[in-house]
């Protein structure tokens, strides 16, 4: 058995989370929310992350774009990401200016509550425009300049167009220009100065909303978030996320709060856009049905640890970690009674020693309370963090053959 090593990215990999440690410094104590988590994501792949509430799925996703919520701190590990130009960076170590070029442009995120993810005080059109303007301003300016120049050549417009042309050239040359900053403070001049730019951005937004299959986009961009349904709000969030065609989309339970029919539509939309834009997706959910439907591989999280990673079919047919098996057994099925996982989610201020699952694990042994299991490769592409599958440590405590016992046990169960 070979220990999992992920020093850098190999060619077809886009992202690698390596030994990530995230802790929250709260009044109740230090919440050890993510402890040495390891993940990798290939180009064009959909990776599902499942796990009970509080297992650290969202914190992991936020940390991938360096937005760990306060009072959380990244205390160890790395997040390697392959930039569009091909160079590999460690997101954790990047400066803010660099991150601004990645967030929303190369990596985007959508959220569990689209209603909470939109600023209630701004029209949705404005919020989509923010995403477009913060990354694509030069490109759009060039288009607008060409457009205005054309108008002028044809002698169509006069002073207003000249003012705009001057302003756009200035903006392109130096977006932080002091004179522009001053002029922009004067509402009338600001309006005159940016009329055609606004028009072009508006057209872009409408195109984007059509891509999101939003009917009547002209009306929707003028709406405030509270005037839209949850499904529509989530489509807007997706539009914002995909405005600059990112290579990676982090989807944190994007359909949990939506009606069942809307859920299906949104998932469908995300997957179609994924193919169209050639993205990779990390899809977080509690819904094993969705996981089975959309993901290529699945990572199972428990109490801040990644406990098992496997291709989706393999995971459902051959779950190795006792927690994964409990999770799969707890899926409600017609005809069989709902079976919840026995025991409670541990408190992450004082997590259980050794394997964090040991208080709830039916196969617990003495070693489990002392040794922290690491992800080990058990077969091609199948990794599990459980001492039963770690011969080295297992041997140390004089046990052997037990994993065979479990495997046969499992076959009896499923």
């Amino acid at each position: 058995m070979k220990r999992l090593t992920l020093e850098t990215l190999d060619n077809e990999e886009l992202l690698s989370v390596k030994d990530l440690v995230v802790r929250f410094y709260t009044y109740e104590g230090i919440v050890k929310a993510v402890e040495r988590a390891n993940l990798k994501l290939r180009k064009g792949e959909t990776l599902g992350i499942v796990g009970e509430t509080g297992s650290g799925k969202s914190v992991t996703a936020f940390t991938i774009i360096a937005l760990t919520p306060s009072p959380g701190r990244v205390e160890g590990g790395a997040v390697y990401f392959r930039r569009a130009q091909g160079d590999v960076v460690n997101i954790i170590k990047l400066k803010e200016v660099e991150l601004l070029r990645i967030r929303g442009k190369e990596v985007s995120m959508i959220f569990q509550e689209p209603n909470a993810a939109l600023d209630p005080l701004y029209r949705v059109g404005d919020q989509i425009a923010e995403a477009i303007l913060s990354h694509r301003l030069p490109e759009i300016l060039e288009n607008v300049i060409k457009f205005v120049e054309g108008e002028l050549r044809r002698g169509r417009s006069g002073f207003g167009a000249r003012l705009e042309l001057w302003a756009y050239r200035k903006m392109l040359e130096n977006p932080k220009s002091a004179i522009l900053a001053i002029l922009r403070r004067i509402p009338i001049i600001k309006n005159l100065m940016t009329r055609r730019l606004k028009h072009v951005v508006r057209e872009e937004i409408i195109e984007l909303l059509k891509l999101m299959e939003i009917p009547d986009p002209e009306r929707i961009i003028e709406a405030y978030p509270h005037e839209l349904s949850g499904g529509m709000q989530q489509r807007i969030m997706i539009a914002i996320a995909l405005a600059c065609s990112p290579v990676l989309l982090l989807a944190d339970e994007p359909t949990t709060n939506l009606d069942v029919t809307v859920q299906a539509q949104i998932i469908d939309l995300i997957m179609r856009l994924k193919n169209k834009l050639n993205m990779s997706i990390i899809y977080i959910t509690h819904d094993m049905g969705v996981i089975a439907e959309i993901s290529d591989r699945v990572a199972v999280m428990y109490a801040g640890n990644i406990v098992e990673v496997a291709p989706v079919k393999e995971l459902f047919n051959n779950p190795l970690h006792p927690y994964t098996r409990a999770l799969l057994e707890s899926i409600p099925r017609p005809g069989s009674p709902f079976k919840s996982i026995p025991g409670t989610i541990p408190n992450l201020v004082n997590p259980p020693s050794g394997c964090r699952f040991h208080p709830r694990c039916p196969y617990v042994r003495e070693a489990c309370k002392l040794e922290v299991p690491e992800l080990v490769k058990v077969s091609e592409d199948h990794y599990v963090a459980c001492l039963l599958y770690d011969g080295e440590i297992y041997g140390k405590y004089g046990g052997h053959g037990r994993s065979e016992e479990i495997l046969s046990d499992k076959r009896r169960n499923i």
Binding site: F62, I65, L67, P69, S70, E96, L100, R101, I102, R103, G104, K105, S108, M109, F111, E113, A116, A117, L118, D119, P120, L121, Y122, Q127, E130, A131, S134, H135, Y224, H226, M237, I240, A241, A243, C244
Partner: protein, 331 residues
Amino acid sequence: MVIPTLLGISLLIFGVTQLFDPIERASLYIRDPRQIRFVEEIIKKYGLDQPFYVQYFGWLSQVLQGNLGWSQSLHMPVLEALITRFPATAELVLYSAPLTIVLGIFLGKISAVKKDTVIDHVTRVMAIVGWSLPAFWLGIILMAVFYGGFGIFPPGRLSPWAEAMIRSGKFKAYTGLYTIDAILNLNGDVFIDALSHLVLPVITLTTINVALIMRVMRSSMLEQLGKTYIIAARARGLDSKTVIDKHATKNALIPVVTISGLLTAGMLSGMVITETVFEFKGVGYFAAHAATQLDIPAVLGFALFAGLIFVIANLIVDILYAYIDPRIRLR
């Protein structure tokens, strides 16, 4: 909404007078102990022994006709007293309220953004110290240092020469706010003089009240900064300045609008201690004076006036809310 509120206020204010019996109320009009035999006469004349509702409606109908009664202590009708004193208070508020509000918002925002840093601690400690200073003490100290020590920033509203100037025919009083009038008359000297009289009371009021705004702004800002839409805004690539200034601050201002409205209304209805310390003869100065003289019509008039100010302030706050928050605009 406005009318019932005002009626309720008037009922409450007038009701308080009923805590005194008619003899006590009548005897307030008698300054000379030898005239005590006129008490019965006064009670009869003003109907002080009538049932409450008769007295109330009698009073109310007078009030609605603009008659708030005669002030014994000021020797003029109460309404006239209010009208002549209000500009002084309004002028003080014109400078202290915006200063307090803007400073409070600024400090609250900084200390929220720099939460748990030295800047946050220093700002909060300073604000709390200001908050806990008694106005009269701060006023007296400031006056002792600046006026007593350096001879600048005198008490009152104007120096005698300026007073004479504005009473001369050449100076037109448009608003009764001397700084504004001075600008309208293009009179720089009077403007500077009026302004120098405002400095210390404005500093006092700002020091004492800024913590109120600051605390609301800080906690509101912290609440907003923890919301998902802030993470979402950053996730789309916005820099933290845009996220804070455009998104978090605007949302955080909503509760600040309410508290600012209340603060301004409270100031406009008279700042008893500050006006008294600085001999700034506004509404608060005379309300205090009238109260010590047990001048009931004047006290009633001032209370009613304060009620009116609060009702108007509430109305303005509601309008501002609708302007900021589209969720309210619908209703």
